[in-house]
Symmetry: C2
Subunit: 223 residues, 2 copies
Amino acid sequence: MTPTSDGNTARAGQTRKRTRIQEENEEKILDAALEVFSTYGFRGATVDQIALLAGMTKPNLLYYFRRKDDIYLAVLRRTLEMWLTPLEALNPEGDPAAEITAYIDRKLELSRDDPKASRLFAMEIMQGAPILGEILSGRLKMLVDEKAAVIRRWTGEGRLAPVDPYHLIFMVWATTQHYADFDVQIRAILGERVERADHFETAKRTLERVFLGGIATGTNNSS
Amino acid sequence: MTPTSDGNTARAGQTRKRTRIQEENEEKILDAALEVFSTYGFRGATVDQIALLAGMTKPNLLYYFRRKDDIYLAVLRRTLEMWLTPLEALNPEGDPAAEITAYIDRKLELSRDDPKASRLFAMEIMQGAPILGEILSGRLKMLVDEKAAVIRRWTGEGRLAPVDPYHLIFMVWATTQHYADFDVQIRAILGERVERADHFETAKRTLERVFLGGIATGTNNSS
DNA sequence: ACGTCCCTTGACCAATTGGTCGAATTTTCG
DNA sequence: CGAAAATTCGACCAATTGGTCAAGGGACGT
């Protein structure tokens, strides 16, 4: 994993104009790469497999991304912003319970709508985060510190039950991403129920209820 | 991934006596294999790497496990029972809140004491559970169905807030296993705090509080 | 229609992979 | 001890891997 971080896609004739074909093919490649990397991780994925799924030959793929590392990096980059957004959107001025509910909802929707992104990060982190490591202890840590401070203020003001803000955030990550990362297991256990329209709603309602019951102060949400 | 499921370890002279050396080496191999498979998954792991970590040559390793599949299978098998135990131990006759608390504690301790096992299953499931698939929809599903019925009874009797039992179990899995699977991320964010003695206690307390607050009926656990 | 750049690919390469084999070494046990 | 069995490992193999290269085919503005 060499730090081949040149500007964009490491194609041959460096900063040309971006052709139509280039645009199309890079997208096809990144889609295929997301699929493969999110299933097998960096080491388990093969360039041939990605090329096949992208509908092109391996040398052709390597014309757009010269090394396996470059593809991986590009996919991670493309997915990163989307992944950080939900927590960034947590509003310090809002109502605690409503903000946390909204955060759970956003994360859960992301797990439903883009499970591959979730799995991609999961694989990267489980393999020791060789690429994302710096971002985790840099940008992500700063973001979490900031939002944890907000939550701590809320609990300090008595607007939230006294829970450790970091572990609360971890719990939200864990529970929401679980639906993407362990989809296969959930399907095995719930069977065809997963296909039913209310499956997602049930998951959401359960998460909201447990979290809100666990952190709300004063009134006890029953019913 | 051929179904080479012969009795035990697929060694050459089939059902001999199990030598001392055999016992020792198989253990060394399985330990090394757990380390490697749990980090890179089946496809990302290499036999050479496992052999190196086990302190022997590749042909020597392959004398004990003839194929990569056999090693993988043996590791999964060795880890499976331990992994199912906590849920099996959930006592239908016990006090709902106490039983669920105890379940959370057991799972969390397992994540702390054997994070590699957690990661091994996570990798297997994320790669589509090619091996464990049948167990997930067979034995695991039966176990979960059974315990979900217990929880449903509890909520029906008003001894637990009305939450979907399956998703409640998923939440416990997600939150507890998160500490093993995403250890690297947690370390990046919490920094040296992870090393402090009270880290585990804080995690446990937070989980218990949120879950119990979320599912307890009647009294509202604060402080 | 033409020249220029872009795109595509078959053939190829060195390294790595999972796995075999036979010869040598060590362990076991009567 | 001594022989049979168990273990170890260097050498080897075919397949797969990430990656290169040169030559041909296509797109596009003029």
